[in-house]
């Protein structure tokens, strides 16, 4: 083989692999991405039952109810609308009423969001970005959500001004 033929073989192989990869990526992007919604967006868009999405918002105060065998229900709201959520399993350590939450799952026929995963991918000072953005858009953002110093910490108070 000449240098040219060898190079062509190489480029041919590379193109084949890249084409396969591109096919896989496009296919996977069509099937396996999940959109993010807030309760208001759910109300507007009339999302059908069974369509998977991520629901984000704040857990409404006093809405958490524990049933038998680890079943829990709570309500997620974003100031505009609320949506009942049902979940079975152990809630993450950082799950609290009044705090932000992201749940993944789908609506059932009764309009209840059946979550199979509840994420609390944030520490207590950090609001999930999706939730924060959605709340800002709704005009329900309170500035102290994202700040570290709304925590019950005795010594934090006098130094807030100096921190940032």
């Amino acid at each position: 083989m000449t240098r040219k033929q060898r190079r062509l073989t190489l480029i041919g192989c590379a193109l084949v692999v890249l084409a396969i990869a591109a096919g896989l990526v496009l296919n996977a992007l069509r099937d396996s991405i999940v959109f993010f919604s807030t309760p208001s967006m759910v109300a507007e868009k009339h999302l059908g039952a069974g369509k998977r999405f991520r629901l984000g918002g704040l857990v409404e105060q006093g809405s958490l109810k524990r049933g038998d065998n680890l079943a829990v229900t709570f309500t997620v709201g974003d100031g505009g609308a609320t949506l009942p959520v049902a979940y079975k399993g152990i809630l993450p350590d950082l799950f609290r009423e009044g705090q932000g939450v992201v749940a993944e799952g789908a609506l059932d026929a009764d309009g209840v969001f059946r979550a199979d995963t509840v994420l609390a991918k944030h520490d207590e000072t950090y609001m999930p970005k999706d939730v924060a953005d959605a709340l800002k858009k709704q005009g329900h953002w309170k500035d102290d959500y994202g700040k570290p110093n709304n925590m019950p910490s005795a010594s934090a108070a006098p130094t807030q001004g100096a921190m940032r």
């Binding site: 890249l18 990869a21 896989l24 991405i33 152990i90 350590d93």
Partner: protein, 661 residues
Amino acid sequence: MIAESGHYALVLALALALIQSIVPIVGARWRDAALMNVARSTALAQLLFVGASFAALVTLHVTSDFSVANVYENSHSLKPLLYKITGVWGNHEGSMLLWVSILALFGGLVAAFGNNLPLSLRAHVLAVQAWVASAFYLFILITSNPFLRLANPPLEGRDLNPVLQDIGLAVHPPMLYLGYVGFSISFSFAVAALLEGKIDAAWARWVRPWTLMAWIFLTLGIAMGSYWAYYELGWGGWWFWDPVENASLMPWLAGTALLHSALVMEKRNALKVWTVLLSILTFSLSLLGTFLVRSGVLTSVHAFATDPTRGVFILLILFVFIGGSLSLYAWRAPALKQGGLFAPISREGALVLNNLLLTTACATVFIGTLYPLALEVLTGEKISVGAPFFNFTFAPLFVPLLLAVPFGPLLAWKRGDLLGAAQRLMVAGIAALVAIAVVLAWTYGGATLAPLAIGLAAFVIMGALCDLAERIALFRIPLSLSLRRARGLPRATWGTAFAHAGLGVALIGIVCETTWNSEYIGSMKPDDVAKVAGYELRLDGLNPRQGPNFREMVAQFTVTRDGDKVSVMTPSKRNFTTRGASTTEAALLTRGASQLYISLGDTSADGAIAVRIYHKPLVLMIWWGPVLMAFGGMLSLSDRRLRVGAPKPAKSAARALQAAE
């Protein structure tokens, strides 16, 4: 006083880095040895000052000086000493200081051990290293100064995020950074080669040990992080395809490709242009990882920093270095000389295939990680790309790679014999078929893909052993002769075999854990018994306990199997009063390579506690694999042939190869 000295030392390090950025380059232009040698002393001095700065921050944390904002926000006087130290890098400012310290460390190492490098190459490498360092010193000093004082010092600190108070944090970030930042050396070498317009096999010989070292640390760092997430986050997962994890995986994939292409360049003087590009890309991906983690653009477990000015600053660094180096590449690369010829079926060909698949796999991870960000910026739509995306793209690309792995080392350089290699791999092929048959029979009617994957893993492991057996002519010549040959084999050959076998080991763990994981989730009261995978777990009771800076509720489980007591497991739920946060401390029971895993949920009003119990078969193999890979890397690193300046390296290498064949 200590804080101010630390700050001042950092400013001095910046000044030294600026000198190191300019003077050696000027020296190289003027061919002035004295000016070029400035690089060496400034690199060492820089290491000294940034080390002093880091030591100052550690001292502040250890002595709990809460007049420093960084200490106040991340420490607590009651925190155990170990976590006071590890807390230094458990926050944004401290971890960036660790980042530059490691960068300076690598610069210092090149300065100290690079005596056999051509003077101008060393000057260029250290200058490029200093460019990166200067950018990050500026970043720290302007946006993330860890030494800022508070006007009214509080009496007590806010404590470190409880999730981070763990031994895993002591090891994981430094390891990861040693890997990430270690690739800066190959980057600097690549840019230096482009600046000089000269690149040859010797260059690859110098670059390879540094790349290998970074790769070893990155491999261990990723494995460590994965194990930490597994036992600390309490839901038993070890890889979430979280953007932060992907950020470390991408440089690893590119770095693995770089290791292999540098090999071709060193041995055959081919693939030069590609190797230079890979060096640049690998470090660019490390920088991208730093950006993703440190700018807070992601919603993820690791994103603790949420300050846009930092994001913009790192983005700027990213554009300057990636854009700059790629432009330089586009401008200078055509000037680099073409390398040697080789047939498609040859060792070189196999390594090219390796590079092709690894970089493509890396590209799919890149797309999956950045697509949601790009889409949000462009259209405002929010999506999440989860595990299914990566399973459908990454896995299909890794299968052909794993199939090809055993063939690579068996093919000769220049022109290989595929049929011959296949014959020599017959044993591995048979082993794979047997493995598939056994697993299929054992799990009759279960998953179909899993046995095939186990077979693939067996093929990879046996393939690595076949390669060794072939080289020492096992069973073809007397055993004593074979053993003598085994001793004579270059360590790099052993390293290759271990690293490749490690891939197979990890694959077995991954497949077993994901396919045959059994779990029990429910609420239990004292004296309740849960049955998981043949084990019986009895909840004996719940006891409160007071820790140094937390209170915990410890549950005691007695584990029995067929009536025999196996062990006692004590998972707990900790409550950290200062932050009002709680963590779940899972209890692990190791049986061979398998583990029982218990983590606790909430207690309900009637005294029952929610528990999650998993039996994870062969789960430890997931991490033994990377450890084996790293061990292989270390063996290779200790190979005499990699040590530059060993007398007549080319000749002795050739002899060793002949002896091995």
